[in-house]
Symmetry: C2
DNA sequence: TATTGTTATACTCTATAACTATA
DNA sequence: TATAGTTATAGAGTATAACAATA
């Protein structure tokens, strides 16, 4: 549904703004990822796996911040697409070692670049690069509830 | 679940940041609204109703940006708490006129104030008021995909 | 006994389709 | 016929509980 004639008191509240920022961002990233057969959730899983290297499903789930039961279906989909592979860990056969396949790494790199470009398109028409960096830093600080470190030239 | 040791590549992406900004904000607003028996969703409905004045359920649904079938249960809850009332519209008995009750208006005012204070607590330890206003303006601009009008002294 | 992956189940949120009463 | 509210149903997304294999 569009955003026409929403109540102004509502549209100025932080909860509304965060929710709809997510939705509008998705309007940029979803079509950018579609050619790779990936969703934003898929890409998040791949970012986690790429950061971890070979890992168990439990570790992947923790890295993404979801339950291990939720990770099962996410990996089922990525495995069916040939992007990740699972095999029993030799030293503990209860575990699966999960990692990107060779072609999965290529798909991931291209999809990540496309998603980055979509994020830049989302933010680029609204503010310049300095302000975008400042905005993102303040957003990061809000999520961690740390004090924002704006204007730090040594990043 | 907490946020411990999430993958850094993931936690710097906009999608992740918006999602978790919502979650952390909710950690402030949810307990602030609980004494009034209201959720953030309830408060959003009340903000819409307050802005519209007496309105049909369809108009309320449109103002909130949900389907009319979704509005039914939201109003069921608020009506059971005595915060809103529904009555058939005299000039068209297919419609319900929905409005806040007298005590509902008091609850709403107090809950809105509590939610506002929770938002200030969420943002206040992270940045000063000027930066918070700047941040909110950029967030608003991202949602509407307009150019941000920062530093405009005439608001 | 405890842990990993899996499955079954349930819960939340939301939408579409169908029903009712009115118009 | 069309519309407002309602109900039934379904889908996405997630979690908890229970199960099989392994430790």
């Amino acid at each position: 549904m569009g955003v026409m004639s929403r109540e102004p008191q509502l549209t100025s509240r932080l909860g509304y703004l965060f929710k709809h920022a997510q939705q509008v961002l998705a309007e940029f990233t979803t079509p950018a990822l579609a050619p790779f057969g990936l969703t934003g959730r898929d890409l998040a899983v791949l970012i986690v796996l790429d950061g971890l290297g070979p890992a168990s499903q439990q570790e992947a789930a923790h890295g993404l911040g979801v339950d291990r039961t939720t990770m099962v279906a996410l990996l089922d989909g990525l495995e069916a697409k040939g992007i990740v592979e699972r095999r029993p860990a030799e030293e503990d056969r209860r575990r699966n070692v999960v990692q990107l396949t060779a072609s999965g790494r290529q798909t991931f790199a291209a999809a990540l670049a496309a998603s980055d470009e979509a994020e830049r398109a989302f933010i680029g028409t609204v503010m310049d690069e300095d302000r975008a960096a400042e905005f993102k830093e303040r957003l990061r600080a809000l999520v961690t509830q740390e004090r924002a470190r704006d204007q730090d030239p040594a990043g």
